[in-house]
Point group: C2
Chain length 413, copies 2
């Protein structure tokens, strides 16, 4: 079992785990394109059509031969015979000859012989069959050519792309109504502790309700996984190992929250090591809260051991899953949207060498375009301190605190 | 029909619509708490329990009478008789007398007579029945009192709160396994145009596939609504009115994308005005793309008319729905997470008085901690230009463009 006497930073710990995740092969499935929001494309998608499929007008106006407009101006308009109107949704079965124009709407198909469109604002009917054109147009003006957006064979959406409204729109334009996407990662969640009971039960003295299964489940959901909660496990190694084995078989990632006493934490690491190789990679990271975190990898699947106290489990789950879940989902490029910058109102101290994450409350005031935030000092490690928090402010390991009015990065929760 | 000759800014337009939404009463439903992520609480939730339900230790150590530790130090330890161990998950049926200590784990219930806990690090067994204590503790040290987090009657989660992992955790701690949340707003989406066909069909010359129903559907989903797409409507007022009536009856909000020619746009405004009062509130906003936008309100429900071209519809749907959907969902406080700041690489010009939204591509480089972004100049109004874009950069109406290297707010798409 590789153990590290010097505690790693959270980033170093995550890197060790990610090195193993790199080589995992993810399963994929076919789904209807319109159900694809936030799913990740499993294979490059090529176009087998030209878009547009025909040369179109980009404005309302008159299709013409551009050279017939040469020299046209407000003072000296050019005159055109109106040869007809292009109907929307129909092929343009008209031919434009020298000196002729044809009424066309935005998106209409250009008639044969025309190579430009004069905007309607630059024309006027001189009689029902004739228009005056006040502006010369070069060839291609107000026109989009067949295949100008996409040509047959182009890659339209790349493997590893997280699908947004723009990708869905583009795929629909090509008639691609089904896509291959990676499966959503399944995440097994286990809570341990002799004192833990399910939330629907009334606790006896000395008992508390299970919080972690549910808050972690929702964090998994938020980061794009499918959580599955297992029954609460007593502090007993063989029971823990049985549940861990089952969750490890049935999921792509397992999160286990250990009881909070030191003896029970060791029990968790021992049980994880029996799941397979390489086993525990990191035991303890230099962070507060959440120091007794375990990062492990066994038989192709990551396992995360979190401290039992709900605030620590909550904070570390955010730190880890925001980085690990995109990889487990097959994303090749992730845009971080769950952070904001703010300014702290008061000094916050921290130990050098340790990364601290402090819950902060958002104030209404701003300072130089940054919102003010105020730390929430909590005592009991109960999750109620997080209801008022907008997020977690990071105090980097290389500093011994944050001074009042300094800028801080906040991980939104 | 109230029409405005001077074009409003998008913000002014949205305000007019929101004044009407203020008075809408939203329906609610009861759901299981663990299914509550991103739902909005419809009624203040009070606690009917004290949390913690019993006085607990926050560390591993020994429960003592604090006054017995008076003067204890490394040099002069205090001695205590070990009276037993508190079992996790059980009532502490022990009594501590003067000079006695009791082994206790994090979260364990304090025995009668104890008022503080000495951390295990500050103790040592002198024999199997006795410990030395090296540090004096005041009353209340390492202890969280019954009811210190939450007392019976406290409001734990307020009406209008968007539910996150922290709320779900806190509710579970209280045994609140069911919550009353507002219904998700249903949004009817209509696409019109003689040239539009469903995406699974092969277009004839002059026809194009429906993009808007799907990209708008996904934008609605992203902002927390339930989209419902209706069959494509031809450019015919009575057909349009029939479909609008049905969508207006069946949904909380209706979005209709009009054909792109001027005549068809007027047809949309006329049809909307027949749905009820007050009808069209805003016809045209000073923005690019998307000027021919319609904002309306009829019989208690908003109606949005968008330009038919997919980029315009896409941009305006983002601008409007990010502001309107949280209101329709009953949110009383919304944290904006869909924006980032960047720096533009080149000059971008814009007309004074008009708000421009320019798709931008994210570059790898940074400048003073801000990511560089590059505008995407697009020609055809097809949605493919948005696949490369990370978001839309805002050029405010009061400026005539952005200079290279200036800071810009980007709405992520």
């Amino acid at each position: 079992m590789p153990e590290f006497l010097e505690l790693l930073t959270p980033d170093e710990g995550i890197s060790r785990l990610q090195q193993h995740i790199e080589f995992v092969e993810f399963r994929s499935e076919n789904i209807r394109t319109e159900k694809g929001l936030n799913r990740v494309i499993a294979r490059n998608i090529n176009s087998d059509e030209d878009i547009p499929a025909f040369t179109r007008s980009t404005v309302d106006g008159f299709a013409v031969k551009s050279k017939d407009t040469f020299g046209a101006s407000d003072v000296l308009p050019a005159f055109f015979e109106v040869a007809g109107e292009i109907q929307m949704g129909k092929p343009a079965n008209l031919q434009i000859n020298k000196g002729q124009a044809c009424l066309i709407h935005t998106g209409g198909m250009l008639p044969v012989g025309a190579d430009a469109v004069v905007m309607v604002e630059n024309t006027q009917y001189s009689n029902s069959k004739e228009i005056e054109v006040y502006k010369a147009v070069p060839a291609g003006e107000n026109v989009i050519l067949k295949g100008e957006d996409v040509t047959i064979g182009d890659v339209v959406v790349r493997k590893g792309t997280k699908v947004r409204a723009s990708e869905i729109g583009a795929l629909m334009a090509l008639g691609i109504t089904e896509i291959e996407v990676y499966d959503l990662p399944k995440v097994g969640i286990l809570s341990t502790g002799d004192e833990i009971i399910p939330p629907h039960k009334k606790p006896d003295l000395g008992q508390i309700r299970d919080i972690n299964s549910y808050s972690l489940g929702v964090i998994v959901e938020k980061f794009g996984g499918i959580p599955k909660c297992y029954p609460i496990i007593q502090d007993d190694k063989s029971k823990l190992l049985n549940s861990l084995r089952q969750a490890h078989d049935e999921n792509d990632l397992v999160i286990v929250t250990a009881g909070s006493s030191a003896s029970v934490r060791d029990l968790t690491a021992d049980a994880i090591n029996e799941l397979g190789t390489p086993g525990v990679l990191v035991h303890g990271i230099n962070v507060r809260p959440g120091k007794p975190t375990i990062l492990a990898f066994a038989n192709g699947k990551p396992i995360i051991g979190l401290p039992g106290n709900p605030v620590s489990a909550f904070v570390i789950a955010h730190l880890l899953l925001r980085r690990i879940m995109p990889k487990m989902r097959g994303e090749l490029r992730t845009i971080e949207t769950q952070t904001m910058k703010g300014k702290v109102t008061i000094n916050i101290s921290s130990a050098a060498g340790r990364e601290d994450w402090m819950p902060v409350r958002l104030l209404e005031e701003e300072n130089n375009g940054l919102k003010l935030v105020e730390p929430i000092f909590y005592k009991s490690n109960l999750i109620f301190s997080l209801i008022d928090a907008i997020g977690l402010a990071r105090i980097a390991p290389e500093v011994t605190g944050l001074e009042a009015n300094s800028e801080v990065e906040i991980l939104l929760i």
